[in-house]
């Protein structure tokens, strides 16, 4: 469980914030143009990893998340990749596909860090034979 959480934090690091900037939210409220709304959801990498996952596995993750309310799709994706021993290969793919990574992550993210990302991959690669 700790490992899932740590990988989750790695994947959340440096996600692009797609919500309206706070200063613009404040301007909109002060000028009366904005309406009170629910707080925006935190940035998610689900769309990013889902784009690199087989549809069969996405359906399985949907089912897992539906059964267990404590397990969201992001963590369910990590759990499935760990159980299949494919997490390292996913990270290898992240290293190659910089364009897709750049769409979802800032240049200050761990997934765009060309020095640290190979280290993360090597660490996860050690798990491939133990799943």
């Amino acid at each position: 469980v700790d490992l899932i959480e740590h990988v989750h934090l790695v994947l959340r690091n440096g996600l692009k914030d797609r919500t309206m900037p706070l200063d613009k939210q404040l301007d909109a409220l002060l000028s009366g143009r904005g309406r009170p709304a629910a707080p925006p959801p935190p940035p998610s990498y689900w769309a990013f990893v889902a784009s690199k996952t087989f549809s069969k596995n996405i359906e399985y993750i949907d089912q897992l998340a539906a059964i267990n309310p404590l397990l969201d799709k992001e963590r369910a994706w990590i759990a499935l990749a760990l159980s299949e021993g494919t997490l390292a290969s996913h990270f290898a793919e992240f290293q190659k596909d910089r364009r897709a990574v750049g769409e979802h992550y800032t240049s200050a993210a761990l997934l765009t860090d060309q020095q640290r990302l190979p280290i993360v991959h090597d660490l996860l690669d050690q798990l491939s034979g133990t799943s």
């Binding site: 009170p36 240049s107 860090d113 993360v120 133990t130």
Partner: protein
């Protein structure tokens, strides 16, 4: 309905007020990597490393135990095989000589 809308508006103002200190950080250009970013990333890598190391020794220990068990089994078989084998002619000859 109006009271509820006012209540939500107040909550939103308060929420935004407490979020103001983070405005500068959010507006920072995404191309810039600060020292804090580097420290945070290194911390993530270190934490992940510790987490994985915590898992690996158990599996390696299991493998080591399996190897030890295989060695024990082989040693047991080889020992018993030697004991159950008939004596070689050379040994028998030596034995007879000893008896003689």
């Amino acid at each position: 309905v109006a009271v509820e809308a006012d209540r939500r508006a107040v909550c939103q103002y308060v929420s935004l007020f407490f979020s103001l200190p983070t405005l500068n950080r959010r507006e920072r250009p995404s191309t810039e990597e600060t020292e804090a970013d580097g420290i945070e990333k290194q911390k993530l890598v270190d934490t992940l490393s510790v987490s994985i190391e915590g898992i690996l020794p158990s599996s390696q220990q299991t493998q080591q135990q399996q190897q030890q068990q295989q060695y024990n089994n082989r040693y047991f078989c080889e020992t018993n095989w030697t004991m159950q084998q008939p004596r070689l002619p050379h040994d028998v000859h030596q034995g007879r000589r000893g008896l003689d």
